[in-house]
């Protein structure tokens, strides 16, 4: 009997999870000093990809090359990847700057920034969906970079290699200051 009890005890120990939460981690920008004049950080126009979600959950993406309504969020992934990697060296897509990465060497790091704007009426579901696509696009680029240089996908790299990849392909998603658009 005691053996059976032990078996059951161990079974339940294995089966129960402690409910660790999973989600999308973000770092909010610090609040600007209230006395200080609001200053827009000068981002070169070509580096900026604006993604806007309207009250009706329509998604628009705009950079120097395109300005379009996105009907399927998965399309957004391609736009983001093209904007950040800029494989053709397009003058109107994001700029690349040589940077010395410790333990790796020189690499042309993209200066592209994705600016995500939403409206007060946007549904949270859509917002997370778009956030997710943006992260997925960046993860794709990171995976490609990892495979090319280390022969493995990003998640299978060791800590130092991941650090290198993170530095080579930064996750520049900025959440713009909220604007009261659809509100009286």
């Amino acid at each position: 009997m005691a053996d059976i009890s032990f078996l059951m005890l161990i079974f339940f120990l294995m089966v129960t999870t402690m409910d660790t939460d999973k989600g999308l981690s973000r770092r909010l920008p610090p609040m600007p000093d209230e006395n200080a004049q609001v200053q827009d950080i000068k981002v070169n126009k070509r580096n900026l990809l604006e993604v806007r979600i309207t009250t009706n959950d329509n998604v628009y993406a705009a950079n120097q090359v395109t300005a379009q309504r996105i009907t399927d969020v998965n399309e957004l992934e391609q736009i983001v990847i093209e904007h950040l990697t800029n494989p053709a060296g397009n003058e109107k897509l994001s700029n690349k700057k040589m940077k010395d990465i410790e333990g790796f060497g020189e690499y042309a790091v993209s200066e592209g920034v994705i600016s995500l704007q939403n409206d007060r009426g946007t549904s949270y579901n859509k917002y997370i969906e778009v956030q997710n696509v943006l992260v997925r696009a960046i993860n794709r680029i990171r995976d490609d970079f990892s495979k090319e240089n280390f022969g493995k996908v990003y998640l299978q790299l060791n800590e130092e290699q991941q650090e290198i990849v993170r530095e080579a392909i930064p996750q520049n998603i900025s959440e713009a200051e909220p604007k009261n658009v659809g509100k009286k």
Partner: protein
């Protein structure tokens, strides 16, 4: 004769305790199965949105939770069906977040304070307005590390 006398001794025979561990184990089992680990009562309905690119929460002990959603059925008579913020065990407004964060921060050791994280458990049908307000308030309290809690979705591509 002496033989018979001994047999009819006065002291009771000891209770057999061989099955006691089994009983204890059974009780242990019962409590393990029936208890849940939740610390706070849910006052709002939260159906988390789905996402694929999610990462695990690193330090659970450094995390504070903010729930946003429509009040549960029992609470709707009192609080209506509009999205509300729940901190700890009660409904709060955006303005209370400052105190909440300060209190949570106070609970952490000094070393850990800068690693504090806020988990936002927001219902998927919530409008972004209230979420934006909360985010702005968090920025004001300089609790900058946040996490949008989501469910694991099956990759669709």
């Amino acid at each position: 004769m002496a033989k018979f006398l001994k047999k009819g001794g006065k002291d009771m025979p000891a209770i057999n305790t061989a099955s006691l561990p089994d009983i204890v184990f059974m009780i242990l089992m019962f409590f393990m199965v029936s208890t849940s680990m939740r610390q706070t009562d849910k006052l709002v309905n939260v159906k988390l949105p789905e996402a694929t690119e999610i990462s695990k929460l690193e330090r659970k002990d450094l995390t504070s939770y903010i729930y946003i959603g429509t009040p549960t059925l029992q609470m709707q008579a009192q609080y209506g069906t509009d999205s509300r913020i729940q901190l700890n065990d009660s409904f709060k407004t955006v303005l209370d977040i400052r105190d909440f964060i300060a209190a949570e921060r106070e609970n952490l050791s000094e070393v850990d304070r800068s690693f504090m994280q806020v988990s936002l458990k927001v219902d998927e049908s919530t409008k972004m307005g209230i979420v934006t307000d909360v985010k702005q308030e968090l920025r004001r309290c300089s609790a900058l590390k946040i996490m949008y809690v989501a469910r694991q979705a099956v990759a669709s591509y």
